[in-house]
Amino acid sequence: MSENNIDRSLILEVEDLGIDFGGLTAVNNLSLKVYNNEIVGLIGPNGAGKTTVFNMLTKVYQPSRGTIRLCGQDTAKMTTVEVNKAGIARTFQNIRLFQNLSVIDNVKAGMHNKITYSPADSIFRTRKYYDQEKQIEEKAHELLKIMGLDSLAEISAGSLPYGGQRRLEIARAMATDPKLLLLDEPAAGMNPQETEELMDMIRFVRDHFHIAILLIEHDMKLVMGICERITVINFGMMLASGTPEEIQSNPAVIKAYLGE
């Protein structure tokens, strides 16, 4: 595919998004656009409201104000489950894997809504069951290969090393076949070499599946290295938005991070 043919349609459009917890306004007047095949970074000091934004996008929290449109579709009335079906998948800052399931079963669980056989099909082990299980087995291995976990497919997810657990979360999110992938601090707790590998994986996932990625990260090497655009928020308000170069030289951003 040549550069010109890459689909750059608008995937996510957030307008004037805000949420209050009691009297506290955690996020206010946030606007954000994410286009297809794009990696966008969401950064900000601790407590700026980054994860709250993710929780609003996935409807874990109901926004108090503003609109979220996914591919033009308003998600106001959707639940977490419906938002995922509509095309948003995410990972979590504090890892939330299915600890007692095997690595591959975690990925297969992500394909839940891609499977059409009913519980009756699984109880009676119909042909439909075997056909679809075989299909998702292959797909799951393919995803695990991309994330470098294929050799660990049968061990339980809880016994994976930390970096592996973070990568498995990405694989599980990708198994839901999303249009937009939200990564919440994917490199947290990784050493520089692991982070380097992760950057390659994130780029590969974007190029291979042609999806949009929005990520929160504190590791500036990763953010500046792979994001095409960056939005900075502080105290729940948008501070700046632009390319990595613009952000790095923005005085307001430097002030927010380093102080006066």
Binding site: N84, K85, F92, F98, I115, Y117, P119, R125, R172, T176
Partner: protein, 357 residues
């Protein structure tokens, strides 16, 4: 080909399943041989069907407590629903279907369906909530069902079913018969349950639970147990998933109840009280959450022990409580856990070595 088969046998999922099936079938063969040679005491013989019934109910409860992670304190209530449904259906069909096996199977299916319906009705509001609400509601359900059946009079004649509550106001045409008589429960039931059907029911229950666990539904059920928020984030509807596990658990209890009810000529509603629910829960916890083979073994042992140790009967509930506490303390002890993990590792290594040679 053969090698492939054996290596598959050592695959963990298949292994636990094969062991469960083999255990049940071998136990059946041994007991059949013993009873045909007359070396089985009449006491043990009378326990064969009840052990099967409680095993099926415990397998169902294990799906609910072990895999789905929801505490259910009303499994005896579902058994009760199944038992009295089964007795009524069998009583009504007595003149139409003379083949006892066919009638038993219909009664078991009816018991399972009505129990599943009850599970569905109480599951709708409760499973949408997080926390221990299901435990409270199922506890209440068990008590309510017991009260309802204790106060229910049900008769059957050529004009159909007649019901009255609290007082017996049922008048029947000639040839009709009373199916339920309030606190006295069901009397004069034709005993059509058999050990073979009990074993088949256990095998069916195992197949249903294992097939469900190793499928899309099973991954969703265990996913919701391990992390509810993550399950929702990948598009799994938590309430529906928990409902599926709960309904299947209830219907297995219903089927077990139907078999149990048709094993006795008299059955009082008080048989299925809170203690029975706790008893089934003890079978599941002692056998290991999510461990079917363990459930079968613990049910059998705990059903037989009180009969074999009749002299200690007064202390039974006391000993159960102590055993439950000790098990919870021991399994949460880091030192003992490490020891157990080491033992398991060496066992698996031993098996792998055997496979290679």
């Amino acid at each position: 080909m053969m090698k492939n088969f054996f290596s598959k046998l050592f695959d963990q999922k298949l292994r636990s399943r094969t062991i469960s099936y083999l255990l049940v079938i071998i136990a059946f063969i041994i007991l059949q041989l013993m009873s045909s040679t007359g070396s089985l005491s009449s006491l043990l013989k009378s326990l064969l069907v009840p052990v099967c019934c409680y095993t099926v109910a415990a397998i169902g409860l294990n799906l609910n407590v072990g895999f789905s992670g929801e505490l259910n304190l009303g499994q005896a209530g579902f058994m009760s629903v199944g038992a009295f449904t089964g007795i009524c259906v069998s009583g009504m069909l007595a003149s139409m279907i003379t083949n006892p096996v066919l009638r038993l199977i219909i009664a078991i299916i009816a018991g399972a369906l009505i129990a599943a319906l009850m599970g569905y009705i109480i599951g709708i509001p409760v499973l949408k909530l997080q926390g221990d609400y299901l435990a409270i509601v199922t506890l209440a359900f068990g008590q309510i069902i017991k009260s309802i059946i204790t106060n229910m009079y049900l008769g059957f004649d050529e004009n159909g079913l007649h019901v009255s509550f609290v007082e017996n106001k049922v008048t029947l045409a000639s040839g009709g018969k009373m199916l339920l008589q309030g606190p006295m429960g069901a009397t004069g039931t034709q005993r059509i349950a058999s050990f073979a059907i009990g074993i088949i029911l256990i095998l069916c229950a195992l197949t249903i639970v294992y097939n469900l666990i190793y499928s899309k539904s099973g991954r969703a059920i265990m996913g919701c147990r391990d992390n509810r928020i993550a399950a929702e984030s990948i598009g799994i509807n938590v309430a529906n998933t928990k409902m599926l596990a709960f309904i299947i658990s209830a219907s297995l209890a219903g089927a077990a109840g139907a078999l149990y009810g048709l094993n006795y000529s008299t059955l009082v509603p008080n048989k299925f009280d809170f203690n029975t629910s706790i008893l089934i829960l003890v079978f599941v916890v002692l056998g290991g959450l999510g461990n079917m083979t363990g459930t079968i073994i613990s049910t059998t042992v705990l059903m037989l022990l009180p009969e074999l140790l009749r002299s200690l009967q007064d202390y039974r509930m006391l000993i159960y409580a102590i055993v439950l506490i000790v098990i919870m303390l021991v399994t949460n002890n880091a030192f003992l856990q490490a020891k157990a993990a080491k033992l398991r590792e060496s066992l698996i290594k031993g098996k792998k070595g055997a496979k290679l040679s």
